[in-house]
């Protein structure tokens, strides 16, 4: 039970960037553009956040400026994917893969230019934890959610609600979803499909940049090429078995946060400590495949996601 008490905060920390990135993927895919570049955008966000933090520390606001910059760089980087796949009708998976390769190269290249090594310098604190005095006294959730948590965890929860509201309760969200389901029909009622898709991809870039910043500032001490280690891909999987729904993505993200926490603490769990640790490192990835299987057939994504928009087709 004690172990569970230590694991839950870790699970929350791990889940936060997954959930934020999955929400990013949601905006992109709902508009009809598959964004496999989440991983690469997170790398760019993580790199810029780590660099800005190193630069501004020990200022207390360093982490917040870092996140702001990461949002901007993530957005700018995703514009490449948007331009290639929307305007130039590139294969979205290939274009996303190109961005993933580019992110790995570019961030480490810039590390060498700025820091003279394969990684950024280490930062001191990254993002400090906060407590909300009033809410922390709430029964059950208070201690877990509002005492000693990263502000990003709360932001992720707020973003889930905001995403749900925007996508399902506003005209903008309706238009966005229409472009992902049947862009020609959307265009026929006067919706600017290209503009909505740009909006979707750029929003996903901003969120994935934030997710990368969150990851590096709360789980790492510096940016390395291994910092993001597949989190963007896991976020994409969460989106799929969260059925392209913000609350589904939240649930899936928490599940993966817990499975990552398990892989860290497995050696302390009786019955499990004899199993080699490498198998626990595999766990989150293997579980993703199992979860995809379990939800296969039932999950229906946006119909037109992945197809370049051809205005002439019916």
């Amino acid at each position: 039970m004690n172990l569970l008490a230590t694991m839950i905060p870790i699970a929350l920390v791990n889940a936060t960037p997954i959930v934020i990135a999955a929400l990013g993927g949601l905006f992109s895919e709902r508009s009809g553009i598959v964004n496999i570049a989440l991983e690469g955008i997170m790398m760019v966000g993580a790199f810029s956040a780590a660099s800005v933090t190193v630069l501004l520390e020990p200022a207390a606001s360093a982490g917040y400026w870092a996140m702001l910059v990461a949002v901007a760089t993530g957005l700018a980087f995703s514009a490449l994917h948007a331009f290639a796949s929307i305007h130039l009708r590139a294969d979205q998976v290939v274009s996303g893969t190109a961005l993933n390769i580019l992110a790995g190269g570019l961030t480490v290249y810039l590390c060498q230019i700025f820091f003279g090594q394969q990684r950024t310098d280490a930062f001191a604190t990254g993002l400090s934890k906060i407590s909300l005095p009033g809410l922390a006294r709430l029964p059950l959730v208070g201690g877990v959610l509002f005492r000693d948590v990263h502000p990003t965890t709360l932001a992720a929860l707020a973003l889930v609600l905001a995403t749900w509201f925007v996508v399902y309760r506003t005209p903008l969200g309706l238009r966005l979803r229409a472009c992902g389901e049947h862009p020609q029909a959307a265009a026929s009622v006067g919706i600017d499909v290209l503009r909505m898709r740009y909006l979707g991809v750029l929003t996903s870039g901003a969120l994935a940049g934030l997710a990368g910043a969150t990851l590096v500032l709360t789980q790492d001490i510096q940016y390395t090429v291994g910092s993001v280690h597949g989190t963007g891909f896991i976020a994409l999987a969460c989106l799929i078995f969260g059925k392209w729904n913000p609350f589904g993505a939240l649930g899936a993200g928490l599940f993966f946060g817990l499975s990552q926490a398990t892989s860290i603490y497995a050696k302390d769990i009786p019955f499990l400590h004899a199993v080699p640790q490498d198998f626990f490192f595999m766990l989150p990835y293997a579980l993703t495949v199992v979860a995809l299987l379990a939800f296969s057939g039932k999950s229906v994504g946006p119909l037109a996601a992945g197809e370049p928009y051809d205005a002439g087709r019916r």
């Binding site: 130039l88 893969t97 961005l99 580019l102 230019i113």
Partner: protein, 363 residues
């Protein structure tokens, strides 16, 4: 006309990629001339600045090109069936493990042993690749996400096996494989002034020929291409689409598994625990895309990207961060992905009789 246009986009993409790379180098205060000098040295062994020649560099260049030609064939084969095999990296690691297992545990005479090692690696890589294929065919799970996840599973499986299964002494590498299992060639190495050049080029060339033959000259290959062109149409024509998907991913994985063996028994001679994926799978995607998924194209673009990899240490020694190679590679892939847009713009420019340069399309 079609052939010329098919080569136009990759050629343009390569030019743009190198131009962008040179721009990044210049913008970060380094010399693009040094970058191109390093590429020339990697290709020919000629060092312009020192006016010297060292055949070790072309030898190393071929060593780098061999495995990525194989992962290129792997990705290309799946592409031909309309599948995106982003999992070549994992299939390669599993192939390498099988090569180590047969190398260490199955004693056999000289030539037979190497053949067994290579076949085992192909079988293992093929089975690892068939998993996402089968899941796609049976449960309609997207092969991209599954094979990415399997890459990470393979990475940790590899690291566990090297240490626990093969009893690594130093937690980094397995015991050295017996000489009968290796593709080492002292003669080739001596010829190139001590490079790691080895007999690995034999399975690579055979694979290129096999790829061409299967895709272009067999009913099996025709069926796969038909599924790749139009899945529903192929189904309507009575082809067993699901079986094609699994078979294609098996063959695709087998090429990647062979790449793992070529690296392990050709270059190193032992299995290695690695902290992260080494990027051979992504290299394969670039090689296949730029090569247009044909055997000849994969051969040529394998040489190109092999050169880029081989020139990395040379660039690093000139003060240019070696990651510039990834930046150039990614840009080339991105420009090739913009193919539809580039062709559309080129076509529109031609139709409008505007004699503008087609380069504008990609910038």
């Amino acid at each position: 006309m079609l052939g010329r246009r098919a080569a136009l986009v990759p050629a343009l993409a390569i030019l743009l990629g190198f131009a962008l790379g040179a721009l990044v180098v210049a913008m970060t205060g380094r010399s693009p001339a040094d970058m191109f000098a390093a590429l020339l040295q990697g290709l020919s062994g000629v060092n312009l600045a020192a006016r010297s020649f060292n055949p070790r560099y072309p030898g190393e260049f071929l060593v780098q090109a061999m495995p990525i030609m194989l992962t290129g064939l792997s990705v290309g084969f799946a592409f031909r069936t309309g599948l995106f095999n982003i999992g070549a990296e994992g299939q390669l690691m599993v192939g390498s493990l099988a090569a180590v297992a047969v190398g260490l545990w199955v004693p056999a005479p000289t030539v037979v042993h190497v053949a067994l090692v290579l076949l085992a690696a192909m079988a293992a890589g093929g089975l690892w690749g068939a998993i996402p294929g089968w899941l796609k065919a049976r449960f309609n799970v997207h092969e991209v996400v599954v094979s990415i996840m399997l890459n990470y599973v393979a990475l940790h499986l590899n690291n566990w096996a090297v240490v626990d299964l093969f009893h690594s002494v130093d937690h980094v590498k397995t015991p050295i494989l017996p000489a009968t299992a290796l593709l080492r060639s002292p003669a080739l190495s001596a010829l190139t002034n001590g490079s790691r050049l080895n007999w690995g080029f034999v399975p690579v060339v055979l694979s290129l020929l096999l790829y061409w033959f299967v895709i272009e000259r067999t009913t099996f290959g025709f069926g796969l291409r038909a599924v790749g062109f139009n899945r529903e149409c192929a189904r309507y024509a009575g082809m067993k689409v699901n079986r094609s998907i699994v078979a294609s991913m098996f063959v695709s994985g087998a090429f990647a598994g062979l790449a793992g063996a070529v690296i392990t028994v050709g270059i190193f001679g032992f299995g290695r625990a690695i902290p992260a994926a080494e990027g051979y799978g992504f290299d394969g995607i670039a090689v296949a895309l730029v090569g247009g998924n044909t055997a000849v194209g994969v051969f040529l673009s394998g040489l190109l990207f092999g050169l880029l990899k081989a020139a990395q240490p040379l660039m690093q020694s000139q003060g240019i961060p070696k990651e510039i190679a990834s930046i150039i590679q990614a840009s080339i892939v991105l420009f090739v992905a913009m193919k539809l847009g580039i062709e559309y713009l080129v076509g529109r420019l031609r139709a409008g009789d505007a004699p503008a340069a087609p380069e504008e399309a990609g910038t």
